[in-house]
């Protein structure tokens, strides 16, 4: 489903963000990606939807080597991978609903049928009553949930979440985890980068830990620390 083979990523400024990383995530798995700040989690996520390319190694998504696909094929990949960004990337000029619709409009897929998907996504993150608010009128957690709704609206088979609970309180964090678990149960592969020790320790799912750009642990049913 998602396979990294000896992936090394060095940013133009010389930072070695990933160093010979190999891992495999199977279909319908739920995986936590942990590691200290600057370990390379976001970089790894960006490789999956070809937001960036590795200097060496291969990245397979659904059996396609995304490091080798042409520009024209990138949109196809990105429509299969929903991403919740660490910094949300919401459009300030659009309401919550419009931000979610924007995903479908960007691919010409917005219509009567898919507008129901928007309602459902908003209901799932419990933002139906905030649908017409703009991001600056929302709390941090509400903005985060808008970002989640946007990532799930297209019902991608792969969902990648970069610290989706970073700005949420205890209760909302758990709501979010329950949501991701539900989406996983519905058939999606979920990869979630997180610093949330309590959640990782309680959930006891597969944990991949990276430090200094290397995989230092890959454990089924693991906790936040080894």
């Amino acid at each position: 489903m998602i396979v990294l083979q000896n992936v090394t990523k060095v940013y133009p400024n010389g930072t070695r963000a990933l160093d010979d990383v190999s891992l495999q995530i199977d279909e319908r798995e739920f995986v936590f990606l942990v590691g200290p700040s600057g370990a390379g989690k976001t970089t790894l996520i960006r490789l999956i939807n070809r937001d960036t390319s590795p200097d060496s190694g291969n990245v397979f998504v659904e059996n396609t080597d995304v490091t080798r696909i042409s520009r024209r094929e990138v949109p196809k990949l990105r429509r299969r991978v929903g991403v919740i960004y660490q910094d949300y990337k919401l459009l300030p000029g659009l309401s919550v609903r419009q931000n979610v619709e924007f995903v479908l409009k960007s691919t010409g897929e917005f219509n009567g049928r898919t507008s129901r998907w928007v309602d459902e996504a908003l209901a799932l993150v419990q933002l139906s009553d905030r649908a017409d608010h703009h991001p600056h009128e929302l709390s941090g957690g509400e903005q985060q949930r808008t970002a989640i709704a946007r990532a799930i609206v297209r019902r991608c088979p792969i969902l990648v979440a970069d610290e989706p609970t970073g700005n949420l309180d205890h209760a909302t964090s758990w709501d979010t985890i329950q949501l991701l678990v539900r989406i996983n149960a519905l058939g999606a592969t979920v990869l979630m980068a997180t610093h949330n020790r309590e959640i990782v320790d309680t959930m006891r799912r597969r944990v991949i830990e990276i430090a200094n750009g290397k995989v230092v642990r890959d454990e089924l049913g693991g906790g936040y620390d080894g």
Binding site: V74, P75, R78, F102, S106, E109
Partner: protein
């Protein structure tokens, strides 16, 4: 199919919205394009007029040698046969006194009989040359002037043609330079307008690309914006052009009747269509260049 229609609707809608958001810039770009194209049209019209004048004058004789009334006809025939053999000489025509009078009469007095007034025909016969190569004219004219027994005088109306040709060359060079400069300005203004539009929407663009929009879906609205600016500018220019032709050209023709200004409908129509096409191309190319540079898609 509906997805395609959706895309089209989105692209057009986004383009119109973008134009409206940047309406001051849009207006500036439209006006610049229109000015550029009106100048282009004016230049083309002037050039066309000059070309017609050159052709019209070129069709007339390049050299006229007026024959003395007392010249021997056989001598004149001899000279004409000799002239026909000369390199660069096209056609040699003999205009009799009667012909000359008739032409004169037709041109200036309509049906009235000049002989009745003048008692005798005062016009000389003439040998008229049409040249293939005007370069040999000066020498030829001098030679004929030397035959004082045969020719009264020798006229070379070519001077006018030469002057016209050089005027039209200068006007063509100046016009071309001006068109190149103005096209560059219009391209620059449109490209810049689109760059600002791209900048204003950079966040939107980033997210569109991240969620799987195709390159053309991102580019489309901007290219349509540029094409639209070019098209509106060109339409304004075409309307100005037609109005100018309808209002101004007849007046000029009335005042300076010998100017063969191209006033016929098909010329103006072709010019208007050409202008609109140029506007469309300049607008599309300008925005495409800009989108390539600033959008990286």
């Amino acid at each position: 199919m509906t997805a395609k229609l959706n895309v089209l609707r989105y692209v057009l809608g986004a383009a119109m919205l973008g134009l409206w958001r940047n309406r001051t810039m849009t207006l500036g770009a439209v006006v610049t394009t229109a000015v550029m194209l009106v100048t282009l049209a004016a230049f083309l019209a002037i050039n066309d007029t000059l070309n017609e004048m050159v052709t019209a004058l070129g069709r007339k004789s390049n050299l006229i040698a007026y024959v003395r009334d007392d010249a021997r006809p056989s001598r004149v025939t001899e000279i004409m046969q000799d002239l026909e053999q000369r390199p660069g000489v096209g056609e040699v025509v003999f205009v009799t006194k009667e012909d000359a009078l008739r032409i004169f009469q037709e041109r200036f007095f309509d049906q009235r009989d000049v002989i009745d007034i003048l008692q005798a025909n005062p016009l000389p016969a003439s040998v008229e040359l049409r040249m293939d190569d005007p370069a040999v004219l000066p020498a030829l004219a001098d030679e004929l002037r030397g035959m004082t027994a045969v020719f009264e005088s020798v006229a070379v109306p070519l001077d006018v043609v030469e002057r016209l040709v050089s005027i039209s060359n200068v006007s063509r060079a100046a016009g071309t330079a001006m068109i190149v400069a103005l096209t560059a300005v219009a391209l620059f203004v449109i490209a810049n307008t689109i760059r600002i539009a791209v900048y204003a929407r950079r966040q939107e663009i980033e997210i569109m690309k991240l969620v799987g929009a195709t390159d053309w879906f991102v580019r489309g609205p901007f290219i349509i914006e540029g094409a639209f600016i070019g098209l509106v500018g060109a339409t304004l220019a075409a309307v100005a052009l037609v109005v100018m032709y309808l209002q101004v050209a007849p007046t000029i023709t009335r005042i300076i009747s010998f100017l063969p200004i191209a006033t016929d409908v098909s010329f103006v129509r072709n010019l208007a269509v050409f202008i609109v096409l140029v506007g469309l191309v300049v607008g599309s190319v300008g925005s495409y260049v800009s989108v390539r540079r600033y959008l990286a898609v």
